[in-house]
Amino acid sequence: MIKTSKLQFSYSSENSFSFPDISLPQGEHLLILGSSGVGKTTLLHLLAGLLPSSSGSITIGSTELQKLSRKKLDAFRGREMGIIFQNDYFINALSVSENLKLRLYFPDKKKDTTRVKELAERLGISNLLHKKVTALSEGQRQRLSIALALVNKPNIIFADEPTASLDDENCEKVVTLLKEEASNSNANLLIITHDQRVKTMFKNHLYL
C-alpha cells in the first residue's frame, strides 16, 4: 500500500517539483508516465526514500518514511522494496549468484538460498549463476537487474524505464514478467516510463 500527500521536492529554487497525490492499495500496479524532465525519476527516488522530500508525506504500508531514522530507512528499503534502475548496477567483483545472495544479506534474509535458485530458474538465468557479471550480455544484465529487484520478495517493486532499450517482443516479455512476479507476491508495482508501448498493458495511469 502506497499513499502520498502534497509531495514536493526542490533541487533549487528554479528546479522544484510538486507531485499529484498517489493512493495505491496493496497488490495494485501503477504506470507513471511523462516526458523527460518532469521529475519521474525524482518521484521514484522520493518513494524509495533515496531522496528526502521538501514537504508532504509518504506512507508505505503502515510506515511513514519521513519518520524513520536514516538507519531504519536503509533497513526498511532493503526489506520492503525492490528497485530496477534505469541503468543496471552490479557488484563487478562478484558472480551472478553472489550478487543475488548479497542482495539478501543486508535485509538479513540470507538463509533464503532456494529463492535465488527458484527465481533464476523462472528468469532463465540459472545457467549464468556462476558467471561474472562483467561477462553478461545486455539482455542477461536486464534479467539480472530484475532478479535483484525481486529476490528479497519485496512488497513494492519500482522500475525506472525498464523497457527503454528493448525491442517490442522483449518489451512485452519484461512487462509481463514484472506483472506476474508482482501478482505472485501481492506486491505493488510502480513503473516509470515514457514508453508508449507499455501504456496499454496497465489500467492505472498517472501523468506527471
Binding site: L50, D74, R79, A93, F106
Partner: protein, 402 residues
C-alpha cells in the same frame, strides 16, 4: 555472502590497484622485523660468548681487537705476550681463573686454538665422543668444525700457518690427531679446533730450531697470545685492568665494555635502517589511503547500490575498512615471512663463518607491537579514505548516466 567475503573479493578483483601499497608495506615490515631480530640475536650471541670472560690480557694494541681475536675469534691477534708474565698474573689474589690461549695455525680456515682443558669449562663444552687431549698434537673439534671439515676420531691433518685459509705453507712433520669431538654449545667453541699449548709451540719451534730438541722449550721464550681471566671478586674489575695497563707491557681489555662499545656503534646503523623502515611504513599507509580512495571513487555506484539493498553507511565504512585491514594483514604476514627468510639466510652464513647460532624465533613482543602499528595505520588510512561514504548522494549517483 557477507561483508568480509565481499571486501576480500573487491580487493582481489583488481589486484594491481593495491600492489604498490602492498609492496611498500611488505618491504617495511620485512626490514623492521629483520633488523629487530638480527640486532637482538647478534647481541645475544655476543653476550653469550663474552660472558665467561671478565678480562682479556694480551699484547698492547686495540682493546677491541684483543677482545674480537681472543674471545670471539674473529680478528687477528694484537701480538703475543710472554708466558712468564702471564703466569705472574695467574698468581694474583684478584684472579679466580686464568686460561692462556695461543694462536698460530689454521686447518682449512678453521682456527687452531692452543689452550688448557679448563677453556672448555668456560663454555660448558662437553665431549660428544672420544676424549680430551692429553698430549701434544692431539685435538678436540668443535661440533660445527667436525661437520664442516668432515673429520672423525683418529683422523689426522696438517695445519697451515696463519689464521686464514689462503696461506699455503703447511707444517710438515707435525700432524694433528683428532681425539675428541665436542657437543654443540651454541658458542664460539663450536667453530674451533682446540689443542694444548705445547702443540702450538712445537709446530712453530720446528721452523726455527733443530729437530733433535724440538720438544724442549726454553721457558724464557715461550709465548701465548692472551690470557682469559675470571675475577675472584668485583673489586678486581677496578684494580686489575689499571695495574696491567700501567705497570706491565701488556694490555687488559674488558670484553663487556668493548662489546658494548661495538654494539653501540652498530646500533646507529641499525637505528638508521629502522627509521627508514618506519618511513616506508608511513608511506605505505599513505599509499593504502590513496588506493582505497581510488577504489571508492571507482565503486561509487556499487556503494550506492548497496545502500538501496539496505546497507547502512556504517556497513559501507566497515566494508572499506575490512579491505584495508586485509591489505595490512597480508602485507604484515608476507613482510614477516620475508624478514625471517632473510634472517635464515644470514643465520646460515653466520653459522658457517662465525659459529653464531640464530633461532628463527617465534614472534616477539616488538613484532606484536609492529602488527598493532601496521593495523592502526591501515585503519586510519581506511577511515580517512572512506569519509566520503557518509556524504554519498545515492539518488544522484544512480540517476546519472554511467
Amino acid at each position: 555472502m557477507n561483508l568480509v567475503k565481499l571486501s576480500f573479493k573487491n580487493l582481489i578483483s583488481k589486484p594491481l590497484n593495491a600492489l604498490l601499497s602492498l609492496l611498500l608495506l611488505v618491504l617495511s615490515i620485512a626490514l623492521v622485523t629483520f633488523m629487530l631480530q638480527l640486532s637482538a640475536q647478534v647481541k645475544g650471541n655476543l653476550d653469550k660468548n663474552i660472558k665467561p670472560v671478565d678480562l682479556v690480557v694480551g699484547a698492547k694494541g686495540s682493546p677491541l681487537q684483543l677482545v674480537l681475536s681472543s674471545v670471539l675469534h674473529i680478528d687477528a691477534p694484537t701480538g703475543n705476550i710472554k708466558l712468564k708474565d702471564a703466569e705472574k698474573l695467574r698468581k694474583s689474589r684478584l684472579v679466580k681463573t686464568a686460561i692462556p690461549v695461543s694462536y698460530g695455525d689454521n686447518y682449512k680456515g678453521v682456527r687452531i686454538l692452543g689452550t688448557e682443558t679448563s677453556y672448555l669449562k668456560l663454555y660448558n663444552a662437553e665431549l660428544a665422543t672420544g676424549e680430551l687431549f692429553t698430549k701434544s698434537q692431539q685435538v678436540v673439534l668443535g661440533n660445527s668444525t667436525a661437520k664442516k671439515l668432515q673429520l672423525k676420531l683418529g683422523d689426522t691433518f696438517l695445519s697451515s700457518h696463519g689464521l686464514a685459509d689462503q696461506n699455503l705453507e703447511e707444517h710438515h712433520g707435525h700432524p694433528f690427531t683428532v681425539v675428541g669431538i665436542l657437543k654443540s654449545t651454541g658458542s664460539v667453541v663450536d667453530n674451533l679446533i682446540i689443542t694444548n699449548l705445547e702443540s702450538i709451540w712445537d709446530v712453530h719451534s720446528h721452523a726455527d730450531k733443530h729437530s733433535d730438541d724440538e720438544h724442549h722449550h726454553y721457558e724464557e721464550d715461550l709465548e701465548v697470545t692472551s690470557l682469559l681471566i675470571q675475577f675472584s671478586n668485583p673489586m678486581a674489575m677496578m684494580q686489575l685492568p689499571r695495574y696491567i695497563n700501567d705497570k706491565t707491557n701488556m694490555q687488559a681489555a674488558l670484553p663487556s665494555l668493548e662489546i658494548n662499545r661495538l654494539v653501540k656503534l652498530l646500533g646507529v646503523g641499525v637505528q638508521t635502517i629502522q627509521l627508514i623502515a618506519i618511513a616506508i611504513l608511513l608511506v605505505s599507509g599513505l599509499s593504502i589511503f590513496i588506493s582505497l580512495l581510488k577504489a571508492i571513487r571507482e565503486r561509487r555506484q556499487e556503494l550506492a547500490v548497496l545502500r538501496t539493498y539496505g546497507a547502512t553507511s556504517a556497513q559501507l565504512l566497515w566494508l572499506v575498512l575490512l579491505e584495508g585491514l586485509f591489505l595490512g594483514l597480508i602485507g604484515y604476514v608476507l613482510g614477516w615471512i620475508i624478514g625471517r627468510i632473510g634472517l635464515w639466510t644470514i643465520a646460515n652464513y653466520a653459522q658457517n663463518s662465525y659459529g653464531y647460532t640464530f633461532s628463527l624465533a617465534t614472534p616477539t613482543t616488538a613484532e606484536a607491537l609492529l602488527l598493532l602499528a601496521t593495523l592502526s595505520i591501515t585503519i586510519i588510512a581506511s577511515v580517512l579514505a572512506s569519509l566520503s561514504i557518509f556524504k554519498l548522494n545515492v539518488s544522484k549517483i544512480l540517476s546519472s548516466e554511467k
